[in-house]
């Protein structure tokens, strides 16, 4: 089955954003959209440029984990940010909110956020973010990498060994999503939430908490090379996550130094 092709003209048409999507480029095949975006980021005039690709040969996630996709089945996008006032932690949360809202507006499903920035639908991972920064003297550049599973079927995920089970928008909505429409919605939402990340952190935290999925679930976190399992009794996007530990006690894990490794 062949799906719609990504089209710069359709994505850009009627797009009323201030920064994100100032220019849109679509590749048929790349190593990784984040790598291409970093090449563009050398020129400040490319602030807001969005790189899409039908396929990635070296799609990556956090710490060398792979982001798997077949040609034309995902929405793969990286955004160049060379000039933002937003703090990185708010940028992470703002991007998660923007993706969740874009999917919700476009696809008639109910996405939720797995702390701090994975997008899940019905408990399965549907989209991920790889936010990279290069910190220099007095200036930070960012590339926001986004992968959204769109047209994959159940068989695709059954073959993979994934830390968190995966799903796609088509599986969950029982329809075929139009990736060009989703791309347009995504750029609009990112533009709005990245701007808010630089001006009104409280608004991001409030919306993030409404979309959060952790409380009441049994999860395992990794902190300082050790794993801790417990029931999540509290979550704050910036401060951390509070677990009722299986081995006894309640502990707060600092957000900056903790990763969720298992979510049931």
């Amino acid at each position: 089955m062949s799906f719609e092709k990504l089209d710069v003209d359709i994505i850009s048409e009627g797009l009323r954003t201030k920064v994100i999507g100032s220019e849109v480029v679509v590749f048929k095949n790349t190593s990784s959209t984040n790598d291409i975006a970093w090449e563009y980021s050398g020129n400040e005039a490319n602030n807001g440029l969005a790189v899409f690709s039908e396929q990635q040969s070296k799609g990556r996630g956090r710490m060398g984990s792979k982001w798997l996709s077949k040609s034309g089945q995902s929405l793969l996008c990286s955004i160049v940010l060379t000039n933002t006032k937003a703090k990185p932690q708010l940028l992470t949360l703002g991007c998660a909110v923007a993706i969740a809202e874009a999917i919700q507006n476009c696809c008639e499903v109910e996405p939720r956020i797995k702390w701090p920035n994975d997008i899940i639908i019905a408990g399965k991972k549907a989209a991920g973010i790889l936010l990279e920064s290069r910190i220099g003297k007095g200036k930070s550049d960012y590339v926001i990498g986004i992968g959204i599973n769109c047209h994959q079927d159940q068989a695709f995920f059954a073959k993979q060994k994934l830390q968190i089970p995966g799903t796609s928008i088509d599986i969950e909505s029982k329809k075929v999503v139009d990736r060009n429409e989703l791309a347009k919605e995504l750029l609009g939402n990112l533009d709005r939430w990245v701007e808010i990340a630089g001006s009104d952190g409280g608004k991001i935290l409030e919306r993030w908490k409404q979309l959060s999925s952790q409380i009441g679930h049994r999860i395992t976190v990794e902190f300082n090379k050790q794993r801790f399992a417990g029931n999540c009794i509290g979550v704050d996007p910036v401060k951390g996550i509070i677990l009722q530990l299986e081995k006894g006690g309640v502990r707060m894990f600092e957000a900056a130094q903790t990763t969720i490794v298992k979510h049931l």
Binding site: R60, R62, M63, G64, S65, P88, Q89, L91, T92, L93, P116, N117, I129, L130, L131, E132, S133, R134, I135, G136, K137, K209, I215, E222, F223, N224, K225, I233, G234, V235, D236, V238, K239, I242, Q244, L245, K247, G248, G249, V250, R251, M252, E254, A255, A256, Q257, T259
Partner: protein, 149 residues
């Protein structure tokens, strides 16, 4: 936010404001004991069990450098230290490597933002202070270098 989180967060805020090390609150059969070994890493134990193991605090800023002539490359942020871009790949730098201000020496991950850290100094790496996956604090030494003269 759940009631439990609110309570614990309030206690932590109260401790930070008043620079307290330990607070115990007893409410009927519930007991909350919060110990704070350092100013940045609150450790919460025992609701309601007693004698829960106290978890170690996050990394602390090391004492003043006694290695004469060496300089530290320090962490500009709080996060998790990684010496290489992925577990299977080569470290950005190793002992004996020469770095300049723009050399990327490691990644510090904070809230899933992968931050490439530059040396911001020129010299030769003498020691890699942190291990991959280790929690690091703001200002903590990551590498020791012999600065260029």
């Amino acid at each position: 936010m759940s009631d439990n989180l609110k309570k614990v967060q309030e206690v932590i805020d109260l401790m930070k404001e008043n620079d307290l090390i330990e607070v115990e609150i007893v409410d009927g059969d519930k007991k909350i004991l919060v110990k704070r070994p350092s100013a940045t890493a609150p450790v919460v134990t025992g609701v309601p069990m007693a004698a829960a193991p106290v978890a170690p605090a996050a990394g602390t800023v090391p004492a003043a450098d006694t290695d004469e002539g060496l300089e530290d490359i320090t962490s500009p942020i709080v996060g998790t230290f990684y010496a290489s871009p992925s577990p299977d790949s080569k470290a950005f730098v190793a002992v004996g490597d020469h770095v300049d201000a723009d050399s990327v020496v490691c990644i510090i991950e904070a809230m899933k933002v992968m931050n490439e850290i530059k040396a911001e100094a020129s010299g030769t790496i003498v020691k890699v202070v942190c291990k991959a996956g280790e929690a690091v604090e703001f200002g903590q030494a990551l590498f020791k270098i012999t600065p260029d003269r």
